[in-house]
Subunit: 91 residues, 5 copies
Amino acid sequence: MNFFTMCVFGAAIGMAIGTLGTAIGQGMAVKSAVEGVARNPGAASKIMTTMMIGLAMIESLAIYALVVCLIILFANPYKDIALKMVETVAK
Amino acid sequence: MNFFTMCVFGAAIGMAIGTLGTAIGQGMAVKSAVEGVARNPGAASKIMTTMMIGLAMIESLAIYALVVCLIILFANPYKDIALKMVETVAK
Amino acid sequence: MNFFTMCVFGAAIGMAIGTLGTAIGQGMAVKSAVEGVARNPGAASKIMTTMMIGLAMIESLAIYALVVCLIILFANPYKDIALKMVETVAK
Amino acid sequence: MNFFTMCVFGAAIGMAIGTLGTAIGQGMAVKSAVEGVARNPGAASKIMTTMMIGLAMIESLAIYALVVCLIILFANPYKDIALKMVETVAK
Amino acid sequence: MNFFTMCVFGAAIGMAIGTLGTAIGQGMAVKSAVEGVARNPGAASKIMTTMMIGLAMIESLAIYALVVCLIILFANPYKDIALKMVETVAK
């Protein structure tokens, strides 16, 4: 498999695995927040604040993975080198 | 396997794995929300609000994966390069 | 394996893995809903509402995977390129 | 492996993995429904309604996978292309 | 697969797996923090402080993975060596 093929495949699989973990992490956080509101509705606003901060931190992890994927797709630093290699092979 | 083949395969598998995690995460959130409503029906509206915010955050992760897959399928930045490579090989 | 083979294989496996996660997620949600109705039948309608919203969100994830698979099968953006490649190889 | 081989293989494995998850999901739902009826037989009809709606949603996921597999087997959009490719190779 | 291909693939998969674990770890932390606020809302500010310190520590782990990925993409120490190797092979 050549360079550009693996760029695309890596971005697809990378974002997918990044989503896998962050979604399970956020699921655990929301799970407990909802249980907490059920047990103690009076503390709902405090629970919401805590949950939102936690979800934002986990969301940032997914955004790291998204950034790496978008760099690989749209700002790949090895693109020019790979192009030159292909050209020299083609000659 | 060539470039276009892996684009399609990557998009299919990428969206699939992205769905896997987000669905389990949302399942955990809904599970607890439903348990909470059963235990304390009076807090149903507060529980619903908390659940919806959490689900929306997790849904955003699945949308990241969907965006990467659609970029790979419809706005692939390496498409022209791959086409040129194929043409030079064909000559 | 050539392009069209992997399109079909990718769509089949992609939908399958997408179904795997969403089904387990929905299973967790329904499990708790049923337990909740058993414990507190008076709250059955509220539990049903919460469950339906959650299931709809998870169902949307499966539909993302389905959309990607159907695009790959019926609106594949690389189909023409792959056909041309095959023709040039055949010559 | 050629195109038609992978179609059949993909359909078989795809439906299998799709069944894997949906069966576990439905199993969790039915498990809890049965436990609920055992604990509180008076709520049996309400439990049944909740269970049926949940099972129907999970069943829909398996039907998505089934649809993709049947498309691959009986309405494969790449069938004609693959046939032509085989014929040109045979010449 | 050559050097530059594996650089890109390694960065994508590396960030993805790094995100997987840190997200689940943060999810567990937020889960307990939210439960704690629900049980004892008076201690919400102390719980928040503790959670933030913990999340920041876990976040640092994801940032390590991000740094390694960005070094591989933008400041790769073996880039020149790999380029020379390619050139000598090309001659």
